[in-house]
């Protein structure tokens, strides 16, 4: 899986596609680590084209959400499809992940200022 990255103001947008399985999750972990290490604090994951996620993928989401939250940042998901929402629900993550139906709504959820670097 390649993860195209775009910037929209202070927000880094990562576009995920296809299956977030064990192999893809490793790429996702590496991408999160790289993005967070260079000081990005606002992450938006475009989930419209994701059609599968397993426990390793969920683990990557938990890792990144926790990591940016500890630096006063925020991670949100946009366009999560119904099958993936079902997996979030049964994994107990549905209430702890921030999700928006559209990218515009997700972008609008970020604060106006970027938190200071730790």
């Amino acid at each position: 899986m390649t993860i195209p990255e775009e910037r929209n103001g202070k927000v880094v947008v990562l576009r995920l596609t296809g299956m977030v399985d064990s192999e893809a999750s490793r790429t996702l972990f590496e991408k999160f680590t790289e993005v967070i290490a260079r000081g990005e604090r606002y992450l938006l994951l475009d989930f419209r084209e994701v059609n599968f996620i397993n426990s390793t993928g969920l683990g990557a989401l938990v890792y990144a959400t926790r990591k940016v939250a500890s630096a006063w940042g925020k991670l949100v998901l946009a366009g999560v499809t119904e099958p993936i929402q079902r997996i979030f629900k049964i994994s107990g993550l549905i209430s702890t992940l921030s999700m928006y139906s559209t990218e515009a709504a997700a972008l609008g959820s970020f604060p106006l200022t970027v938190p200071p670097q730790p």
Binding site: E23, N54, T56, V62, P83, I87, I90, S91, G92
Partner: protein, 142 residues
């Protein structure tokens, strides 16, 4: 019985692609619902990933089998490996109410299998782990 297939797999996560390809064609042939296809893929992904990562500790290539049986009532997956004994039915469920900062990254796989399948049974037979997962077709959503 409508169909039964046994896949012989190497202890490598790259084998998942082959398994998912098989589930996809099985789903098309038998008009399984998208949810049923997803759930089978998820359960087998979690089991096979566990075997590939943890069952064999000698760094060598090993083979194990996944037998999938489909009939009018249910679909059954029987996974047999001769790796280290591991009974997933004894695995303690993660605390899903724990706040995010207390969640461990991982530990969810077996919980997901329990949720998406109707039953999960384990036996250790003649030095092999035999895990049987089943799901009723009547629970399929159109």
């Amino acid at each position: 019985m409508i169909e039964q297939t046994t896949l012989v797999l190497k202890n490598d996560v790259s084998e998942l692609e082959r398994v998912m390809g098989f589930i996809s064609s099985l789903s098309v042939r038998n008009a399984l619902s998208p949810d049923m296809e997803y759930d089978l893929n998820l359960a087998l992904d979690e089991v096979i990933s566990n075997i590939a990562r943890h069952a064999y500790r000698d760094g060598q290539e090993h083979l194990f089998t996944v037998q999938i049986t489909l009939n009018e009532e249910e679909i059954v997956a029987r996974i047999e490996d001769d790796g280290a004994a591991f009974d997933p039915t004894k695995h303690v469920a993660p605390d899903l109410n724990a706040p995010l900062e207390e969640r461990k990254a991982g530990g969810l796989g077996i919980h997901l299998i329990r949720q998406v399948m109707d039953s999960m049974e384990y036996e250790r037979v003649a030095g092999k782990n035999v895990l049987t997962l089943s799901k009723k077709r009547s629970k399929e959503t159109p």
